[in-house]
């Protein structure tokens, strides 16, 4: 049984975690997901334990991806669910090469055993051994990125709510900026555009990891998406709903003139 597979071949949540399987399903359904691989929970544990043969197996799959890489946790719990652990486990961006993979996988494994993750597990009554898979993808160098709700998560209205900022989406996810925000009707009509206040962009640095780069004054309040981008995002929202069902919370990135899907999960808060 393969402990590492291409993302499109990740089908078992109990082995690879729901993030990996969700992205695999997205690729199988033709959604624009960056290429990558999925590591099962047992090989993640073996690499974290310092097993040379496990690391070599992972590296054989990682090397063809080139670099830089995004290394994301894909938690598996006894119910095969991942969403409840969102935010507890680690994502490492801009891992520069296969050689840095061992430390990155070790960090992801420990993030599932960190005190904050254990506190959370105790709080929800799951003080059980965590298992964490890993998704490794080619890291994009996006012009802009952010999140999109396929319906309004506050009012429940049938409209897309998009938040965007320059560079990697972590600026939006980690609330490091006031993002541009857009409301787009299902038919593509732009209902509302609100420029944000984006003083920094998160970008990869040559030595690995990311940096908060100060933005030029003219970019701080300039919209980072145009109408064409919004139409492409609206189309992505529709395709995600066709594949996964209504009410999706999407992470996306705009790179090389194309919108990529980075993550798609159910909206977990608010709305009607």
């Amino acid at each position: 049984m393969n402990r590492v597979v291409l993302l499109e071949d990740a089908r078992e949540e109990a082995r690879f975690g729901s993030k990996a399987v969700g992205l695999g399903q997205a690729i199988r359904d033709g959604l624009p997901v960056p290429p990558g691989i999925a590591l099962s929970g047992d090989i993640v544990e073996a690499v974290a334990s310092g097993e040379d043969s496990a690391l070599e197996e992972v590296l054989r799959w990682v090397r063809p991806l080139g670099g830089p890489l995004a290394v994301r946790s894909s938690a598996v719990d006894e119910d095969g669910a991942d969403a409840s652990f969102a935010g507890q486990h680690l994502t490492l961006l801009n891992v520069r090469s296969a050689d840095d993979m061992s430390a990155a996988v070790n960090q992801v494994w420990w993030s599932a055993n960190s005190d904050s993750a254990i506190t959370y597990r105790q709080r929800i009554g799951k003080f059980t051994r965590p298992s964490v898979g890993v998704v490794v993808q080619k890291l994009l160098d996006p012009v802009a990125a952010g999140v999109m709700f396929t319906r309004n998560p506050v009012t429940g209205d049938d409209e897309r709510v998009i938040e965007a900022s320059w560079g990697l989406g972590e600026a939006v996810v980690a609330a490091l900026v006031i993002p541009d925000s857009f409301r787009v009707a299902r038919d593509g009509r732009v209902i509302e555009t609100t420029p944000g206040y984006k003083k920094i962009a998160v970008r990869g640095v040559p030595g690995g990891g990311t940096v908060e780069e100060k933005l030029a004054k003219e970019l701080v309040e300039a919209l980072c998406l145009d109408d064409g981008n919004l139409q492409a995002l609206n189309e992505l929202a529709g395709r995600c709903e066709q594949v996964y069902g209504p009410g999706r919370d999407i992470e996306w990135a705009l790179a090389d003139g194309k919108i990529y899907l980075l993550q798609c999960r159910a909206i977990t808060k608010g709305g009607k």
Binding site: A48, S49, G50, E51, D52, A103, N106, Q107, W109, W110, N113, D115, S116, I118, T119, R121, Q122, F127, R129, P130
Partner: protein, 136 residues
């Protein structure tokens, strides 16, 4: 690198009575864990399921807001969580970049449950540490 050197573990009081073979069994379960200077390693009051021995670097221990001591290579922390699933009793921050060997509750418990000799030695050592604490 796989596991922790048993020489390092021999200096940890709760493991002091274990034979080399028993210690080797436990040592092989440790995984390396690194923290950056300034990281909060352990937060008083939070849950925890891992025990650490410092390989290199230094860490500061706080009880409440008061700095208590500095831990150096060979020192250890978090051992109570290996037994009782309770809250962390101190806050520990990485004073420098910190390289540790870590052992989780999930790896440790099955070894103790499967090996009564190891369990008994640990129990004796815990009792001695309790007496020593009460005598202070």
């Amino acid at each position: 690198m796989r596991g922790a050197p048993i020489d390092v573990l021999k200096r940890v009081p709760i493991f002091a009575d274990l034979a080399d073979g028993e210690l080797q069994q436990i040592a092989s379960l440790f995984k390396e864990r690194r923290f950056a200077a300034g990281d909060i390693v352990v937060q008083e009051g939070s849950g925890g399921a891992a025990f650490f021995v410092i390989r290199s670097g230094e860490a500061k221990v706080f009880l409440g807001s008061k700095e208590h001591t500095t831990l150096k290579p060979g020192d250890y922390f978090g051992e109570i969580a290996m037994f009782d699933e309770g809250a962390r009793m101190a806050t520990i921050t990485a004073a420098t970049d910190l390289d540790c060997f870590g052992l989780t509750y999930w790896d440790f418990r099955p070894v103790v449950e499967a090996n009564g000799v190891i369990g008994w030695k640990l129990l004796q050592r815990m009792a001695q540490l309790l007496r020593a604490t009460r005598a202070q």
